[in-house]
C-alpha cells in the first residue's frame, strides 16, 4: 500500500509529459505558443512544414537565441543580421527595447508546395501593458526544409545636419526660505474641461471629452471622474490614466477617456468631474506632425485610424504615444483611442501608426484629431 501511491504518481507524471510532447497544441487550425517537440532546449524539430519553420524562428526569437533564429532565415537575398536582431529587440530606446515576446499564434493564409504566407499574432509584454502585433510572414521551401523570407529592413536615411533648438523652454524654480504667507504666489495653471460625454461601452461605461490649457504656461493635467447614484453617493472614481496627453503647452487641447469597467450608466445619476493641473517644467520641442491620417480597414477588416507621425525636430523620440479623438457630425467626441508606437521616432523621420476604432462607432466617425504624447530619454 505504501508504495502503490508513489508508483501511481510516477506513472501519471510520465503519461502527462508524453502527452505534452505528442500533442501539437493545434486549436482551430492555429499553432499556439510553444511549438511541438520544442519544450526542451536542443530539441528543435526539423522545419519540414511552414508552421514548424516559423515556430522555430519565433521560439528562438522569444528566447533571444539570435544565431538559431537567423539560421531560420532564407539567404536567397541578403539580410543584415544586426538589422534582423534590431527588428526584434528594438533600438534607440524604443518601446520594443523594453519589451519581451511572450507568445504567438500562427495561422496559415496560403500554402503551396514552394511558398507559404502565414499570419502571426505576436503577444508582447511591455512596460505599458500587453501589446499584440499582427504580422504576415512569407516562407519559401529550400530543399527539404522551409525558411522564412525576411523583408528588407527600412533604415531611415537622414542626412547629417545641425538643427538648432530655439523653441521655448519652461523651468520651475521652487522658492526656499521662510514661508511668508501670500508672498510665494504662483497659481496652478488654468485648465478647463471643454467637453464631457458619458456613454455605455462593452460591459461598462466611459467618459470622453477634451481639456484645454487656457494658461500661458505648461500644465501637467489629470482628469478624474466620480460617478454618483441618485442619493449622491459615489459609485466609483477613476482617472484618465494614460488616455490623455498629460503635459499641455499653452492653448493645447487633449482628449481624455476615463473607463469604468463593469458599471452601467443606468445606475448613474450624476458625474462629478475634477481636473487637476500642476506646474511642470516643459519644452516646446520636439514638434511632431501627424501626417496622412485616414480611417480605413486593416487587413483583418477592423476599422482603424492610421497615419504617420513625423518628427520635425532634431531630437529622438523614444516612445511616441498617439491619442486620437473621434467626432460625430455634431462635433461630439464619440471615442478616444490610443496606441503606443513601438519604434523610436528619429529626427526628421516618420513612423506609421494605427489605432483601432470600435466596430459600432466606425460608421459614425465624421472627423478626428490626433495628438502625440512622447517620452524622450535624457529629457524627462
Amino acid at each position: 500500500m505504501k508504495i502503490i501511491l508513489p508508483i501511481i504518481l510516477v506513472i501519471a507524471t510520465v503519461v502527462l509529459i508524453a502527452m505534452a510532447l505528442v500533442t501539437s497544441g493545434n486549436a482551430a487550425g492555429k499553432t499556439v505558443g510553444i511549438a511541438v517537440g520544442s519544450a526542451f532546449y536542443g530539441l528543435t524539430p526539423k522545419p519540414t512544414t511552414p508552421e514548424q519553420a516559423l515556430s522555430n524562428l519565433l521560439l528562438d526569437a522569444k528566447r533571444r537565441n539570435w544565431d538559431n533564429a537567423f539560421a531560420s532565415v532564407s539567404t536567397a537575398q541578403p539580410v543584415d543580421k544586426q538589422l534582423f536582431v534590431q527588428d526584434w529587440t528594438g533600438s534607440y530606446g524604443s518601446l520594443r527595447s523594453f519589451s519581451a515576446l511572450e507568445g504567438f499564434d500562427i495561422r496559415p493564409l496560403h500554402i503551396t508546395n514552394e511558398q507559404a504566407l502565414m499570419r502571426v499574432r505576436l503577444h508582447w509584454t511591455t512596460p505599458v501593458g500587453p501589446i499584440e502585433d499582427l504580422r504576415d510572414f512569407h516562407l519559401a521551401k529550400e530543399g527539404d526544409i522551409w525558411k522564412t523570407v525576411w523583408p528588407k529592413s527600412q533604415v531611415p536615411n537622414v542626412p547629417s545636419q545641425v538643427i538648432p533648438v530655439t523653441y521655448l523652454r519652461w523651468d520651475l524654480v521652487s522658492a526656499g526660505g521662510d514661508d511668508e504667507w501670500g508672498a510665494k504666489n504662483i497659481d496652478a495653471p488654468h485648465v478647463r474641461i471643454i467637453s464631457m460625454n458619458p456613454s455605455d461601452f462593452a460591459e461598462g461605461s466611459v467618459i470622453l471629452g477634451e481639456v484645454v490649457n487656457e494658461d500661458t504656461i505648461p500644465a501637467f493635467v489629470n482628469v478624474t471622474a466620480t460617478l454618483l447614484d441618485a442619493s449622491g453617493n459615489a459609485i466609483d472614481e477613476e482617472t484618465s490614466f494614460d488616455k490623455i496627453d498629460h503635459v499641455l503647452l499653452p492653448k493645447q487641447v487633449t482628449p481624455y477617456r476615463i473607463d469604468f469597467p463593469g458599471i452601467n450608466l443606468k445606475n448613474v445619476k450624476n458625474v462629478r468631474m475634477n481636473v487637476k493641473a500642476t506646474l511642470v517644467p516643459a519644452s516646446a520641442d520636439p514638434v511632431i506632425g501627424v501626417m496622412n491620417q485616414k480611417v480605413d480597414a486593416d487587413f483583418q477588416g477592423k476599422a482603424v485610424l492610421r497615419g504617420d507621425v513625423f518628427n520635425e525636430s532634431g531630437q529622438t523620440i523614444n516612445i511616441p504615444h498617439v491619442i486620437a479623438s473621434l467626432y460625430d457630425n455634431n462635433g461630439k467626441v464619440l471615442w478616444v483611442a490610443d496606441g503606443y508606437v513601438e519604434r523610436a521616432l528619429l529626427p526628421q523621420t516618420s513612423v506609421p501608426f494605427a489605432v483601432e476604432i470600435p466596430k459600432n462607432m466606425a460608421s459614425k466617425v465624421q472627423n478626428f484629431h490626433v495628438v502625440v504624447n512622447q517620452y524622450s530619454m535624457g529629457r524627462n
Partner: protein, 287 residues
C-alpha cells in the same frame, strides 16, 4: 476682575461656594496688550503654587501670597485668554485677555499670479494686519491698495479692516506686462507682482506656400484683440485636408509666429486654430 466659574456637580455645594469666594483674591489686568508687561496681585499670606496657562505658554512657579506678580512682555506676546490659577490649600483662578499690539506687518494675498488683459474683476487681494508677534490685529485699520502698470495707476483705494481683514477686486489692465500691487498701512507695505498676459489670439491668420517637401505654413504675428503679442510657446494647431487625407501639426509660437511643415502633395485646404479660437482657411494647389 472676572470671577472664576467652576463646575460644582461632583465636588459638593459648600466646597464650591468657598472656592468661588476665594477667586476674588486675584486681581488681573482689565486690558493687556501683547508684548507689554502686566502686573497681577494676589491677596493672602503664605506660599502658593502659581500657574499661568495661555496661548503658547504654561508656567508654574512657587510664589508668596500678598506680593504682586510682574509678567514680562515676552510672556504675554501671544494674544488670547490667559488663565491664572493659584493653589495653596485649595485652588482659585481668574482669566484676562491680551489683545494684539499695533500693526507691524501685512499678510497680503493677491490672485491670480497671471491674468489675461482687459478682464473685469480679474485681480483680487486680501490683506491681514499682524502685530510684531504675529497676532491678528482685530481693531479697525485703514489699508490702502494701489495697482500700477508701468506709470499708469489702475487703482488707488482705501478700505477699513473688518474682523481683521480688508480686500479689493478690480479689472486687469489693457497692456501685457508686470502689474505692481501694493497694500500699505502707514509706513508698512507689502508688494506683489501679477503678470498680465495676452488674452486669446484674435484674428488668427495663416499663410502657406509649397516647397520641395510639402507645404510650409505659418501664422502672421499672433496678437490678442487688444494688440498684445501672444506669448511664445503658445500652441497653434495647423490642419491640412488633401484628397480625403488629413495632416496636423501642433506648432508652438516662436518670436510671435508659429510655423510648420506639412506633408501634402495634392491640393490642400489648410486651417489653423489656437485653443478654441479658429483662424482662416487657406487653399494651396497641387504640386
Amino acid at each position: 476682575m472676572r470671577p472664576a466659574l467652576l463646575n460644582c456637580g461632583f465636588a459638593g455645594l459648600i466646597m464650591c461656594l468657598s472656592l468661588a469666594s476665594w477667586g476674588q483674591n486675584i486681581t488681573v489686568p482689565t486690558s493687556a496688550v501683547a508684548g507689554e508687561p502686566a502686573t497681577l496681585s494676589i491677596a493672602g499670606s503664605g506660599k502658593a503654587t502659581f500657574y499661568l496657562i495661555g496661548p503658547g505658554i504654561s508656567n508654574k512657579h512657587e510664589i508668596n501670597l500678598g506680593e504682586d506678580i510682574k509678567l514680562r512682555g515676552d510672556v504675554l506676546r501671544n494674544a488670547g485668554d490667559y488663565r491664572v490659577i493659584v493653589c495653596s490649600d485649595s485652588c482659585h483662578s481668574a482669566t484676562f485677555f491680551v489683545t494684539a499690539a499695533k500693526p507691524a506687518s501685512l499678510s497680503f494675498l493677491v490672485h491670480p499670479s497671471r491674468v489675461p488683459v482687459s478682464l473685469s474683476d480679474a485681480v483680487s487681494g486680501v490683506a491681514f494686519p499682524f502685530d510684531r508677534f504675529h497676532n491678528l490685529v482685530l481693531s479697525p485699520v485703514t489699508i490702502n491698495f494701489q495697482l500700477s502698470a508701468g506709470n499708469a495707476s489702475l487703482l488707488n483705494r482705501s478700505a477699513n479692516t473688518q474682523a481683521g481683514v480688508a480686500w479689493f477686486r478690480t479689472a486687469s489692465g489693457k497692456s501685457a506686462g508686470a502689474l505692481q500691487v501694493t497694500a500699505s498701512v502707514d509706513d508698512l507695505s507689502a508688494k506683489r507682482v501679477v503678470q498680465q498676459v495676452a488674452s486669446d489670439p484674435c484674428n488668427l491668420r495663416i499663410t502657406g506656400q509649397r516647397n520641395a517637401t510639402g507645404i510650409l505654413v505659418q501664422t502672421e504675428p499672433v496678437h490678442d484683440c487688444s494688440g498684445n503679442p501672444v506669448p511664445d510657446g503658445t500652441i497653434v494647431s495647423f490642419t491640412a485636408n488633401a484628397g480625403g487625407v488629413k495632416s496636423t501639426v501642433d506648432a508652438p509660437i516662436k518670436k510671435g509666429i508659429a510655423r510648420a511643415q506639412i506633408d501634402a502633395s495634392g491640393a490642400a485646404v489648410i486651417s489653423g486654430a489656437s485653443g478654441v479660437v479658429m483662424g482662416n482657411e487657406l487653399r494651396v494647389g497641387a504640386r
